[in-house]
């Protein structure tokens, strides 16, 4: 379903965020992408959906090459990003309606899907309130619903439970398991070991822009002679705390005034 070959990203200024990543995700698989902060997970997922331009390599999703048929890919994917982008001046229902229309769905299908999704993420009672009034957990849940409006074949999730309390995490995990059981392919980036252990069929660990190990949980434990995923994580990835690069993608409005 997802076929990535030798994917690289070097940002202007020479920062090599991703250094030749290759992997495949099968249809219906729950694939976990783990790594410490600054490992290149978010850059990779953003390249997979075309939000960050790749330097080289190829990305094929659902048989379509990202370079040649991005629109075909956009029809098939949903993406719940790390930064929850909501229209603060709209209600949840209005946003879902708008997104359904932008995916060119029939009106009847949009309305049915809205009811189903609001129920799924338990936001039916607040659907007509402005998104700006939602708590952090509600926003995450709603963002997940928004990424599912067009019933995508592939769901990309970038740290979907970041900043959530245990109850909200369990709720989201339950939804993700359900979606995957219904046949949806899920690509998840996380740095929570328990999340990957609980949800993912297969896991790839990334460090300093490269995949350092990959396999099912059982395969990884056997390969690294470890008892937990955390042990593997600590032995295969180095902590770069204090040495991470700044986000090279963010514009620097002060660049010209700095000496």
């Amino acid at each position: 379903m997802i076929d990535v070959k030798d994917l690289k990203k070097t940002f202007p200024g020479g920062v090599e965020a991703v250094r030749g990543v290759t992997f495949q995700v099968k249809r219906g698989e729950f694939f976990g992408f783990l790594g410490p902060n600054g490992a290149g997970k978010s850059t990779t997922i953003n390249m997979l959906v075309g939000l960050v331009k790749k330097t080289s390599g190829s990305v094929v999703i659902g048989g379509h090459d990202l370079d040649h048929k991005p629109i075909e890919i956009y029809k098939q994917i949903g993406f719940a990003m790390q930064e929850i982008g909501l229209d603060e001046t709209a209600t949840a229902r209005e946003m879902l309606q708008l997104h359904g229309r932008l995916y060119h769905m029939p009106k009847v299908q949009i309305e049915a899907q809205i009811e189903k999704l609001l129920k799924l993420v338990e936001l039916e009672k607040v659907a007509d309130r402005y998104c700006s009034t939602y708590s952090g957990g509600m926003r995450r849940r709603f963002d997940l619903a928004l990424s599912l409006i067009h019933e995508p074949d592939v769901l990309f999730l970038d740290e979907p439970t970041q900043g959530l309390d245990p109850h909200a995490r369990q709720l989201i995990w339950g939804h993700l398991r359900e979606l995957n059981a219904m046949g949806m392919t899920i690509f998840l980036t996380t740095h929570f070991m328990d999340e990957a252990e609980t949800l993912c069929h297969r896991i790839a660990m990334m460090d300093k822009g490269q995949i350092v190990t990959e396999g099912t949980l059982e395969e990884l434990l056997a390969k690294h002679q470890a008892k937990t995923l955390e042990e593997i994580f600590l032995s295969t990835t180095g902590s770069d705390l204090g040495q991470e690069d700044v986000n090279p993608n963010a514009p620097d409005p002060y660049a010209r005034t700095r000496g």
């Binding site: 939000l51 956009y74 930064e83 909501l86 409005p253």
Partner: protein, 255 residues
């Protein structure tokens, strides 16, 4: 093509709702032109008796400026709304949808056009209520609106370019100060013959001068005034140039 039109329609509807959410945000851009119109019309009325001043009241002379200013101040909101979408991540959501990116830009421009009409109409009603006489009549008023809409869309492109290039809300918001030199280094307050030589030269390089002169001609002169086609030409050229630059900034924003 059908999908493109439908995307444009729904994105325009989304942007247009932002005009009155919250409703109070509309007030400053209406208050400023109306305030200056009444203050200037009452305090500077004597200018109309100066030699070289057209044979109209000062109130009628500055009436077009009130309509123009309302549009000028609010057109920058498009950039502020765009930078909000960028900074909270919503813009990225739009970029990975199966929609034509031109529809995103056209959605914003449609919002600007609708807001220009709404604000222009409110100021127009006030001007008619205080007795301002539009010499070119109904079709002159329509022409004024066409000029104002094109100018508003062009000016909104400036704020959207700033939004796309800097992605910084404070920078985009502070851009409204640019309105003042563009508005006052013109013939907005007095005819060219009464300006100082320096201001006369500077105003002739300011495209806003030609827009104001054209709108004014539609109020106080008549269809034969050459300032009218000059104003149309100015706003069309400005609009086309700035739309091209905005589209280029759109592409550049996706690294």
């Amino acid at each position: 093509m059908r999908n493109f039109v439908s995307d444009w329609f729904y994105l325009s509807a989304r942007c247009t709702k932002q005009i009155w959410r919250p409703l109070l945000a509309l007030i400053p851009s209406l208050f400023i032109p109306i305030f200056f119109f009444f203050v200037n019309a009452n305090s500077l009325g004597a200018i109309a008796k100066s030699p070289g001043f057209p044979n109209v009241s000062y109130r009628d002379f500055i009436a077009p400026v009130a309509m123009f200013t309302a549009v000028f101040f609010s057109a920058g909101n498009a950039g502020i709304e765009m930078v909000q979408d960028i900074s909270n991540g919503y813009f990225k959501k739009l970029m990975i949808m199966p929609i034509n990116r031109l529809a995103i830009l056209l959605g914003r421009l449609t919002e600007v056009a609708i807001q220009a009409v709404m604000q222009g109409l409110i100021v127009l009603v006030l001007l008619l209520a205080v007795g301002v006489n539009f010499r070119t009549g109904f079709f002159g008023i329509i022409s004024i609106f066409v000029i104002l809409i094109l100018f508003a869309m062009a000016w909104s492109c400036v704020s959207m370019i700033a939004a796309l290039r800097t992605q910084n809300a404070r920078l985009v918001q502070s851009m409204f100060v640019i309105v003042f030199p563009f508005l006052y280094i013109t013939t907005s307050q007095a005819p060219k013959s009464l300006l100082s030589p320096t201001f006369r030269v500077l105003s002739s390089y300011n495209p806003v001068t030609y827009v104001i002169e054209g709108v004014r001609a539609l109020v106080i002169s008549g269809w034969s005034d050459p300032a009218i086609p000059e104003a149309f030409a100015t706003v069309v050229v400005l609009f086309l140039i700035l739309v091209v630059f905005t589209l280029a900034s759109f592409q550049k924003a996706m690294k």
